[in-house]
């Protein structure tokens, strides 16, 4: 938008506007740098805040916090073992269900279903991820837990009741139900990546196997899965990270007990459910500090899991964009 005056007076105006725009550029650049810097600063800040707030508990209980099952707000004796155990076990159940399921789903979406059906099913699976955690909790407590108590747990008790895992009264609420609901919740996250992995395997490789007379299952099992193994493991870690910290759904259905039981039918708790249940009611400083130490443990675990999953996924995508 040059006007006549700009042309008449060429010496003064452009130089001042150029320096103004350079200044604008510098300011803008610094603004973006500061905003970008904020994100790593937040991660560090979260760690420092959790560490600082949990210091009294760390000092008081030391390493014993990790192995003690005591959780007594009255005598102010705290140990996180049952919460840590519950977090790990419910996550394990979730992954045992969700990983095979998401591989099967990826197989269906990429190899079996016609493209249009595949798109519809993909959308539906993704919507599972959009449903808020608390809705899973409502559904889990009022509908799915009674369903487990009436149908699934009695059946499991009859067939596998000789295992200590499946003994005890079928109450519905407990570790097993929490694990199953977690599985539904992390399924879309794992599935999104396994689907990518399946569809990113070069068709030349698959076609070569089909050409040898392999069936769809054999191609998946012997070609696709080994080919995309790094990515699949990355996806599993991503789901693991999700499942570890899932809060509301677990809080509704896990039963909230600070005791470790061998049976999966029994009530338990997880780090996140303990925080959700007790934090706003904790009044004593040491109680709050112990709860925050649980949070710190969860932070460290999820951080490590995230790091691993990102490393694996990055390696997969890099290798695949270069190779073949």
């Amino acid at each position: 938008m040059q006007t006549a005056t700009d042309v008449v007076a060429p010496t003064a105006a452009p130089s001042s506007s150029a320096s103004a725009s350079a200044r604008g550029d510098r300011t803008f650049r610094w603004l973006t740098i500061l905003s970008a810097l904020l994100i790593p600063a937040l991660v560090a800040g979260i760690f420092l805040a959790l560490f600082g707030q949990s210091w009294p508990a760390i000092k008081r209980f030391g390493f014993h916090f990790l192995i003690s099952q005591d959780w007594n707000p009255v005598t102010e004796n705290f140990g996180g073992a049952s919460s840590i155990y519950g977090t790990l076990v419910s996550t394990l159940i979730a992954l045992l269900i969700a990983v095979p399921l998401s591989l099967a789903l990826a197989l269906f979406l990429v190899e079996l279903a016609p493209p249009r059906l595949s798109r519809v099913v993909s959308t539906i699976i993704e919507l599972l991820a959009a449903i808020p955690s608390i809705i899973y909790g409502m559904w889990g407590m009022f509908i799915f837990a009674p369903f487990m108590a009436n149908y699934v747990q009695p059946a499991l008790g009859e067939t596998l009741g000789w295992l200590p895992l499946f003994q005890g009264p079928p109450m519905g609420l407990g570790m097993l139900t929490a694990g199953v609901i977690l599985a539904f919740m992390v399924l879309p996250f794992i599935c999104a990546i396994t689907r990518d992995v399946f569809s990113l395997v070069p068709s030349v490789v698959k076609e070569a196997a089909f050409g040898m007379g392999a069936t769809t299952w054999e191609v998946t099992y012997k070609v696709t899965i080994p080919y995309g193994l790094v990515g699949i493991i990355g996806a599993v870690f991503l789901g693991l990270g999700r499942a570890l910290g899932e809060t509301m759904a677990v809080t509704f259905v896990i039963g909230n007990s600070h005791h470790i039981s061998a049976s999966l039918f029994a009530a338990g708790n997880s780090i996140a459910s303990t925080l959700a249940n007790e934090f706003s009611e904790a009044t004593k400083a040491l109680y709050v500090s112990a709860l925050i130490e649980l949070g710190l443990i969860l932070f460290v675990i999820t951080y490590l899991v995230q790091m691993l999953s990102q490393m694996l996924l990055k390696r997969m995508y890099r290798a695949w964009s270069v190779g073949l």
């Binding site: 550029d25 973006t32 810097l37 805040a49 079996l112 932070f299």
Partner: protein
């Protein structure tokens, strides 16, 4: 060498195919089951009072959750206003300035970690950062927690969307002598407008159903909010408290609130998917 008969292998293949199809059916059944139950149980709670009245004590008929609806809207809106500009700027750095720099790598990694961080941890962080110094639960703390959750999502989607803008546009503008900040704001943003909007909606959808980060930051309250410095009513914590209560009419209200949240979030998500799908084709 004699060829092996293929019947066993074919059978395995059929079994696996059937199992794979069943897993797809299972996924759809779960979604339909949840949506159906929320709909069936929640619709009964909807009446005019639900959207206009304050909560009543248990046992008393009537009453509504207007305070919680307003609280959730206000906190989500303010968190969006805080997080989105910062997220946009951070995303601009990642896409426009920081290619290959160590800061960009770190930011991207941290953003991914933060997106995957359990929201309850963010709640504890907001508690330590805001509730402890102020000495009480407040909307400020809730907004802080929600904004921290939104920020990395906004930054990462901004980066992805800006990367889709072809470089020729930037070069053309540079050649005309436009400064970088004008190029970014006037040209790149305009080209990526639909995508950026989608990203923001996605972040809003993600945050509006969050409960865990509000439990011990905004807490909850049966009154209308009058300032940001006090415990603030919100739908999700209300669902939690009411569902855990033994009163039938409170549980009924919890289902009503669940219906509101579920359909709000699903509608936002479908809208963003639709908008993104339109873009790609």
């Amino acid at each position: 060498m004699k060829p092996r008969p293929a019947t066993g292998r074919r059978l395995t293949n059929v079994v696996v195919s059937v199992l794979a199809s069943l897993s797809a059916v299972l996924g759809m059944v779960i979604l339909a089951w949840i949506v159906w139950e929320v709909l069936a149980r929640g619709l009964g709670a909807f009446d005019l009072a639900f959207f206009t009245q304050l909560p009543t004590p248990p046992g008393m008929e009537g009453g509504g959750l207007v305070n919680a609806i307003i609280g959730t809207l206000v906190m989500t809106l303010l968190a969006t206003l805080v997080a989105v500009p910062l997220g946009l700027l951070g995303g601009v750095y990642l896409a426009e300035f920081g290619q290959g720099s160590r800061l960009a790598d770190n930011t991207r990694f941290s953003a991914n970690v933060l997106v995957g961080m359990p929201s309850i941890i963010i709640g504890v962080f907001a508690y330590a950062l805001v509730v402890v110094p102020l000495g009480r639960f407040s909307a400020y703390a809730g907004i802080t927690a929600l904004a921290v959750i939104m920020l990395p999502i906004a930054a990462r989607t901004t980066e992805d969307m800006l990367r889709l803008v072809p470089n020729t546009l930037r070069e053309a503008a540079l050649a005309l002598g436009a400064p970088r900040w004008r190029i970014t704001l006037d040209i790149v943003f305009r080209a990526a407008k639909a995508g950026l909007l989608t990203g923001i909606l996605l972040a809003v959808a993600r945050v509006s159903g969050e409960t865990a980060p509000l439990l011990f930051t905004a807490l909850n309250s049966p009154y209308m909010m009058t300032s940001l410095g006090q415990p603030t009513p919100n739908l999700t914590v209300t669902i939690f408290n009411y569902a855990m209560s033994p009163y039938h009419d409170w549980q009924q209200k919890a289902w009503g609130a669940s219906l509101l949240i579920t359909f709000g979030v699903l509608a936002l998500t479908l809208l963003t998917r639709y908008a993104l799908g339109e873009r790609k084709t």
